[in-house]
Amino acid sequence: MILVPITYKGGVFRHDEIVDLIEDLGGYIIQKHMIAQEVVIQAIVPKDDIELIQKIGKPLTGDVTPSPLVGTEIAVVSMSLEIHHLPHASCDLAEYIRRSGAKSNMVGLSRGFGKRISQMNDEERDVINEHDCAVYLFGNFETCIEYKIPVLRRGITVPIIVCGAPSRERLIEIINPPVAGYVGHVGRFMHRTKESEEISVLDDVIAEVTRVLDEKREEIAKDPLSVSPARLMDLIHEQVQEIHEVTSPTPVTVQIAGLRVKLPYDFFAEKIRDIIVEEGILLRKIADILPSRMRDYILIRIHPFSESNLLL
């Protein structure tokens, strides 16, 4: 059964039927938003059943669209949190990525600005490494980008997508060794992106992020994970009741190869380790339960099949 990420948008009325349907089909609901009378469900569903969901959703004014970024967590790295870089372009981009289904987090570097003086500290590096990929928002000059990228990529293990004002070709030329993705014509600007040309540049970013993450997924498919992160999310919801009291919009954030659980590590790490995945198999056997550097959250890294010899 191939699971694909989708977004369902429809009316609140009888939307629980869609929720039940997705669960009955063997899919997983990653996130559900209720905005006034509209409901937005991000889910992973069996590929063959998309038509069925569309058919059942139609009388409920439901609409199903494929969202390749559902089930990923992306870091949007802004060079600082000053007015120079916020809210445009960082927030515009973070919001656009969120619309396409990903969970985007903004990482504002404390000293990322400038050319010679640009720096990144260990906390920032570790937080970025907890994501599936990092989108770096650079400025307008290729000299500066060329000069500062070695400092800002040091220690980063996740794929990096570089955005900057120079064209994509120039970015490819000046960055050595290469990074995972490049998007040109996204420099520092101070107005809201609303023109169609600007929106199309944001679409380019999404396309590049999707391409990079697809490559990562393919890589993982060669040595599959012991358990799917979406399934593990369901198990956490079933077995750790405290998760229902967390007020954060995504108490359990699904990543490509893991999960972020927004419960304090000190109190809940053992409980998470003792989650029964299948009869006789506890989560501690197939995943690392680590303290996250983001607040006191818990980070779950699922082992691949080659490590655990289990495929559940």
């Binding site: 600005f113 400038g114 050319k115 600007f189 107005h191």
Partner: protein, 193 residues
């Protein structure tokens, strides 16, 4: 940019130059600086790195008096001020409180102020200067330039006076050659410091 007589961004990197031109336009517009700036020349060289903005401002005469934003009615010694534009109300109240004391400034509702004054004092109220825009003007202008300049350029020097201003910023110490650069850029606009 129509209302600025001379506006130029100079940089060897064409992409960066275009971005900064657009950025400067947006920032000046957002900070309401187009009515103030007469000429502006921006020079950026990220290789050094240095950012220089030089310019000339327009002469701003208009002081804002009570008459400009309120209607003043005088009946004997009783002055009734009906506020039309609330923007300057707090500044007016501050002046009135300072001058006559809080007890003598009656504000029955948000848009009405009643004062009991001598006839002489009452006559002066309508033409009283409430705000002098030039006071904050240069501060706002320098702030706008700071927003335009790259954030990392923390070593900076600024000047304003005699309708001339400049803002120079870099990551490195500013040497004497910075003065030469500033004069050069003023000369490009056909002005001198």
């Amino acid at each position: 940019m129509l209302s600025i007589e001379y506006f130029q961004v100079e940089c060897y990197d064409e992409t960066g130059r275009e971005y900064y031109e657009q950025l400067a336009e947006v920032v000046l517009l957002d900070h309401n600086m187009l009515r103030v700036v007469h000429k502006l020349h921006i020079f950026i060289d990220p290789r050094i790195p240095i950012f220089v903005a030089t310019g000339v401002t327009k002469t701003i005469h208009s002081h804002i008096t009570v008459n400009d934003f309120a209607n003043v009615q005088i009946e004997g010694g009783k002055v009734t001020i009906a506020i039309g534009e609330e923007t300057y109300l707090s500044e007016l109240l501050r002046i009135l409180w300072e001058k006559f004391g809080k007890d003598h400034v009656d504000q029955p509702d948000r848009f009405t102020i009643i004062l009991n004054l001598t006839k002489e004092e009452a006559q002066k109220i309508a033409d009283m200067v409430v705000v002098d825009p030039s006071e904050n003007l240069y501060r706002d202008l320098i702030y706008a330039l700071q927003v335009i300049a790259p954030e990392g350029f923390k070593v900076r020097r600024q000047y304003y006076g005699k309708e001339r201003f400049y803002y120079i910023a870099s990551e490195n110490t500013l040497t004497e050659s910075a003065d030469v650069l500033i004069r050069e850029k003023f000369a490009l606009m056909g002005e001198s410091l």
